[in-house]
């Protein structure tokens, strides 16, 4: 049996800051540091979002296909980084995105998620990504991601909370 994989699900799970049920990569099939990555996700009828999206017909939400591309990009970034994954406390946030949804994704589809680097800086990256099902493109996207230290993000959240409360009280 041909089971080509650079990284399996356990490794993907260890590298991504997200956790179940918000991991949209099952496997990494191909990888070239600072250049490109190809990942796979199998979509099943048991995905947590299908009961709601939609009750009459199960369609994978486009936003989650965008998330799958962003997670593939995050893996490409982490794997290309000089910082060992264990010491990496950074989260990846999408800054800008231009995405086209070409075809719907249904349970039973196998997604091939590809990401190529357009420009890689020390703490941000511009990438283009696309998702294919049986060789046909279902989503194309161009996005900019920033790597932010998790502690820094938490501090920002606290600052925001502090500045928001008085405004709410005064209004």
């Amino acid at each position: 049996m041909n089971r080509k994989a650079v990284l399996d699900y356990e490794e993907v799970r260890r590298l991504l800051p997200q956790a179940h049920p918000f991991i949209f990569i099952d496997r990494v099939l191909e990888f070239e540091a600072k250049q490109r990555i190809v990942c796979r996700k199998n979509v099943t009828g048991s995905e947590s979002y299908f009961p709601g999206h939609f009750p009459g017909i199960a369609i994978m939400p486009g936003a989650l296909l965008g998330e799958a591309i962003a997670q593939a990009a995050a893996l490409l970034f982490v794997l290309s980084d000089d910082v060992p994954p264990e010491e990496n406390n950074r989260l990846f946030v999408v800054g800008t995105t231009r995405t086209r949804f070409l075809k719907p994704v249904f349970p039973g589809d196998t997604l091939t998620i590809s990401v190529e680097v357009v420009k890689l800086l020390s703490s941000s990256a511009m990438v283009k990504g696309w998702v294919e099902v049986e060789g046909e493109k279902v989503v194309t996207s161009s996005l900019a991601l920033a790597a932010i230290d998790a502690a820094e993000l938490k501090a920002q959240k606290r600052t925001l909370a502090r500045t928001r409360v008085p405004q709410e009280v005064s209004s």
Binding site: K119, L121, S124, M126, A144
Partner: protein, 85 residues
């Protein structure tokens, strides 16, 4: 806007920062980040667009040269002249 380069870059950047071209041109000396609300992600997008359109390489340290529309035009102009030379 007189030269082709000025027109092209203003057009391209106006789309990224979601501003009217003429308005952006009037504000060409203003700093993107402090005065036009551009964040690091948009700056990265501008960088990638310039690299693609003009087939130039812009290293990370040159991000500081792209502080305003005018400085961006000057930077690209210089890069293109270097290439011809």
């Amino acid at each position: 806007m007189t030269t082709e380069l000025e027109k092209d870059i203003t057009h391209m950047l106006a789309e990224v920062v979601e501003m009217d071209e003429n308005q952006l041109w009037e504000k060409r000396q203003l700093r993107f980040v402090d005065e036009l609300g551009v964040d690091s992600m948009l700056a990265l997008e501008i960088l990638a667009l310039l690299e693609k359109k003009y087939r130039i390489q812009i290293p990370e340290e040159n991000l500081l040269d792209l502080v305003s529309l005018q400085s961006t035009i000057d930077f690209v102009d210089q890069k293109l002249k270097q290439r011809v030379a």
